[in-house]
Symmetry: C2
Subunit: 442 residues, 2 copies
């Protein structure tokens, strides 16, 4: 058999440990699929001597010198599962420039500075694979960057953060508020002690940037992504959504648009939104992930699976390892970054969205006319209005409270936001009880 393909593993936590375990358990299968055995040349960790359970690996392979390991002549492929920007960036740039293939699960780095990695890969003639960076085990990046290359993707809508999906699913199921649902998620291990990256949408935003880059052949970074988390989502919002036949999900959305001059643009954003319960994404529960892709010829596609966890992430890492190992044996390099389209990324204010707005209003004649006038002034057209009494059932008595639920047609997000701001100033509006974007064709 051919001489082995040798891996440097950077990081040996939950995912790294699973990678080691799978490499060991499936070594015969992997060798058959690649045409050569895989061997671990070394494992870089922060601290030696830590108890690593019964990891099936020679303890002599551990080192704290990651850079030294990467530079060794007998290392062909570098697998990075450390995360974070530095020192990972320096390591991977070094490896790629030296012509070593890189497999990484580092979404933050890819979203922050993917360009640097792609440039280094081009310079060194090396492969850069990162299936595990988005939606864990779901084979998603390869379909986007290969299978759909004969088509034109118009929109990607994803549930790509398991923690927030667990929280929102719990709020939907039990009527709990955000704080209570977060507490449950923390207890069950679905949320970290500091849940900021998840609940404020940073994690989803990094993934949105990666997805948008692949879907639209355009470099999109984390800074290009409009980001809103779920901490402001209330039990009242969830109830409003339910009354509309909807559920609330934290969505990452990357969509093509058109600017005033008719030129193509891209908008990328992460925010909670109502989607109809009949939408395929609505039934994605617990900590599962799913990504809904719309393409001109292919129509609607959805990819569903586990977005996190040691074994699922390790599965994605190893799929990439098999691919880059095969490429090395064949003496070839996979298609490199495709960023030829270079579409302008437009700010959130220009994105076309729809709003669902619930208002507590004074129940007297003329209220709807006044409210509708505000929408009209901002050029926002109204799709549906539902008037009900907030407390009692429809005896419109002067001075009582009533509820007004309005769903708009699509309009620039800035116009919608300005509409809500003006609504808050009206005397007849006692409070704006819920404002949510609406997606998925309500």
């Amino acid at each position: 058999m051919t001489s082995p393909v040798r891996l440097a593993l950077l990081g040996c936590g939950t995912v790294g440990g699973e990678v080691v375990r799978l490499l060991h358990e499936q070594s015969a299968d992997l060798a058959a699929r690649i045409g050569a055995p895989l061997e671990i040349a070394g494992i870089a960790v922060r601290r030696l001597g830590r108890d690593r359970g019964d990891l099936p690996v020679d303890p002599a392979l551990f080192t704290t010198d990651a850079l030294g390991l990467i530079k060794r002549d007998d290392v062909d492929v570098v697998v990075e599962v450390v995360g974070g920007i530095e020192p990972a960036r320096g390591w991977l740039v070094e490896a790629l420039r030296a012509g070593k293939s890189v497999v990484t699960a580092n979404k933050a780095l890819l979203a922050e500075d993917g360009g640097a990695l792609h440039d280094a890969a081009a310079e060194g003639g090396a492969d850069l694979y990162y299936e595990a960076a988005v939606a864990g085990a779901i084979p998603l990046l390869r379909p986007l960057r290969e299978s759909l290359h004969g088509d034109r993707i118009t929109r990607v809508t994803g549930i790509v953060n398991g923690t927030t999906n667990f929280i929102l699913s719990a709020m939907d199921a039990t009527g709990a508020g955000f704080a209570e649902a977060l507490e449950e998620a923390t207890e069950l291990g679905y949320a970290e002690a500091d849940p900021t990256a998840d609940v404020e949408g940073f994690d989803a935003a990094a993934k949105a940037a990666i997805l948008a880059s692949l879907a639209f052949h355009t470099r999109v970074g984390a800074a290009d992504v409009h980001r809103e988390g779920i901490t402001e989502v209330t039990a009242a919002d969830v109830a409003s959504a339910r009354a509309m036949g909807c559920t609330i999900k934290l969505l990452c959305i990357a969509a093509r648009g058109v600017d005033a001059a008719g030129g193509e643009t891209v908008n990328v954003r992460v925010h909670p939104a109502m989607i109809p319960r009949t939408h395929p994404l609505a039934s994605v529960g617990d900590a599962f992930n799913a990504v809904f892709v719309e393409a001109e010829a292919a129509g609607q596609l959805m990819f569903y699976g586990r977005g996190a966890g040691g074994a699922p992430t390790a599965s994605a890492v190893l799929g990439d390892v098999v691919a880059v190992a095969r490429n090395r044996l064949a003496g070839v390099r996979a298609a490199s970054e495709s960023a030829y389209a270079d579409l302008p990324v437009r700010p959130m204010g220009e994105a076309l969205t729809r709003y669902h707005v619930s208002l507590d209003v004074t129940d007297r004649p003329g209220v709807l006319a006044a409210v509708a006038g505000v929408f009209a002034r901002h050029d926002v057209s109204i799709a549906t209005v539902r008037q009900g009494s907030a407390g009692d059932a429809g005896t419109p008595g002067r001075g009582a409270d009533a509820e007004l639920v309005i769903v708009t047609h699509v309009a620039p997000d800035a116009a919608l936001a300005a509409t809500v701001t003006e609504l808050r100033t009206l005397d007849i509006v006692r409070s704006v009880t819920s404002v949510l974007r609406v997606e998925g064709g309500v």
Copy 2:
């Protein structure tokens, strides 16, 4: 720019016409993604002079001499969308042996004699891609043959035939019988004039063979697939399923098993089955397709989208065209067939399945004991029994009819079938009203 990659298109029906249209509309994007323009060298059709609408292509490109076109020196890639075994097999073997890359949507040929194509591809050092052959536009084969190569797939369960899914969805929604639902499907263009290939499961069986080959690194042909269609599914079956919180789908299932000696085996089958309404496949309605994949590390994955139609199929074909064109420019060949595992394909009788059996029985003491005895004699253990009266609500009067609904645990299919056969011979069993396999963890 590099000199063009030239395509021979074999067939110009619904899918072929869409391929031509997409090649024309997206030529700039495709050229940018490939690094060279794509050009149509010729289009082989059965009859010249047929009205092809406003297809954006030079009429001089049409020819009836497919083999002559394939052999031309200026043809790099052969795209086959004719279907059927011959003459397609001869054409593609010729092309592959001559080192020309082949993209085909021909599931029947791949299932009948995929080995001949893979062998010819290896001989000629050419690429053989066929994403469009299974589940139309859903990127499925590439994930199976690449993304999940670091994992161990244990089971693939798919809804891969749109016609039968439309019919079963209609039966579930309206309570209609098979004949009525088929008539509706025919009227709406979801079923062909001769629906045999769809309703008898031949189409799904071909796709099952292709999926099993990829999932288990083993050559599986159409003849290896146990096949049952949906023509025997009755409105009573659908009602029984509904009572169990289930729906009926025509599933293709490829599963790992273990033989008596502990060796690994594969079982591949197509048949209608009850699945719980909470299963991700249950909500796949109308003519949509979806494939549910279970892998040891990745866990549960699902791929969903349109399984047929000109544009979705053409999208998959073009995705493959981009891949093979890139490979040609890079002077490389994709990973070839992976059939190293060569697992034995075992017959249906040995597959582990579960049955749901509804019986009309004489309502008298001892009936359950007698029925349970039959299951026990065949070593089939019973998971649940529900006794109800068939007509009235539970006044067990001697001589009246009662209904007995039994769901088994898993057992070899042969034992389950033999159990049902013996049940039919019992005096106390007036009729076996419904027998259905159960999948998806009821």
